[in-house]
């Protein structure tokens, strides 16, 4: 179990960040998105290789309208 944008998600053992994006229907090549794992930025270059431990907190963000 990991947490993606606050929601618990059942996953295969040790998924990569890329796996998590694809599972949620997000194209990892989408411009303008960024990922944090356990409150640290995970650069785009590690999405394919960085695996996530059980209980990891993943935040996937993008730009939205704002002040």
């Amino acid at each position: 179990m990991i947490f993606v944008n606050g929601e618990p998600v059942a996953t295969a053992a040790r998924p990569t960040i890329r796996d998590v994006l694809v599972e949620r229907g997000i194209d990892p090549d989408t411009a303008g998105i960024a990922v944090a794992v356990d409150a640290e930025v995970a650069r785009r270059g590690v999405w394919q290789t960085r695996t996530l431990d059980d209980g990891a907190h993943v935040e996937i963000v993008r730009a939205v309208q704002g002040g």
Partner: protein, 269 residues
């Protein structure tokens, strides 16, 4: 929309420069509050801004991905903010995510201390500013209209200071012009009035008081006609700069006739 002074006027204010970049426009536009992307795009054009703010939020896979397209189609740059952050830690991480997502190291730093007023949290703001400057960010902090805090933010290396006129989205204009004047007098970096603008005259006043630029979001996006208001605020900013450069008259307690007293005819009884 550089201000072209009338021949014979005092020297024009130098163009806005932030962190080595020169801007023609002195109006930054917030993208929050527009109900349609097309209206946002048209307001960008009408404002003639060169820099628009965005916020960073959790991705919604069902949402249309058109915001960045609209901004880039209109040929303007994006300035991510850290709106919604209540701690230095969250603001720093949000800025780092924005840099990763958008490829810019510029950030409008917001660290909010109170949900009802959305006023900045001064200690957290200063802490976040210092960390982000150390990490190479161009930091534009949204700050209170406090001349001492503005100086401290400049001292830690912020590229500009962005004092509020009044609370975000309140449309109350510039609540404390005296403090804003003190900030302008003491600043060695650009002063950008941020928050509180309600209409074009507020933007004009900010420039008359010596600000280098104005950031405007709700006043434009929530106006009855946002595109028309973008046009109006652009001209308000321009009028304010021109008036400042022209040199206003001093305020007087009593009247001073503008027609000569000499030569006044005396009419028979």
């Amino acid at each position: 929309m550089s201000a072209q002074p009338h021949p014979g006027a005092r020297a024009a204010s130098p163009p806005l420069r932030i962190a080595g970049r020169t801007f023609t426009s002195r109006l930054l536009l917030g993208t929050g509050g527009f109900t349609r992307m097309e209206t946002l795009g048209d307001a960008i054009d009408a404002s003639q801004t060169e820099l628009v703010t965005v916020a960073m939020r959790r991705i919604d896979a069902t949402a249309e991905g058109s915001l960045l397209d609209v901004i880039r189609d209109r040929g303007v740059d994006v300035l991510p903010n850290t709106a919604g952050c209540f701690t230095a830690r969250d603001a720093v991480l949000t800025a780092q995510l924005a840099r990763e997502a958008l490829g810019t190291d510029w950030v409008k730093l917001e660290v909010i201390g109170d949900e009802r007023t959305l006023l900045p949290d001064a200690p957290e703001l200063l802490l976040a500013a210092e960390q982000l400057v150390d990490e190479g960010f161009v930091v534009l902090p949204y700050t209170n209209d406090d001349p001492v805090l503005a100086r401290r933010l400049e001292d830690v290396g912020c590229a500009a200071v962005m004092p509020l006129g009044s609370p975000i989205g309140s449309g109350q204009g510039i609540a404390n012009p005296a403090n804003l004047t003190l900030i302008v007098e003491g600043a060695g970096v650009p002063v950008i009035l941020d928050a509180g603008v309600g209409t074009a005259s507020d933007a004009a006043l900010a420039m008359e008081l010596g600000c280098d630029a104005v950031l405007c979001a709700s006043a434009i996006s929530r106006a009855t006609d946002p595109v028309a208001m973008a046009h109006a605020v652009r001209h308000g900013v321009l009028a304010g700069v021109l008036a400042r450069d022209a040199g206003r008259i001093a305020r007087r307690t009593h009247a001073r006739a503008s027609s000569p007293l000499a030569g006044l005819p005396e009419f028979a009884e």
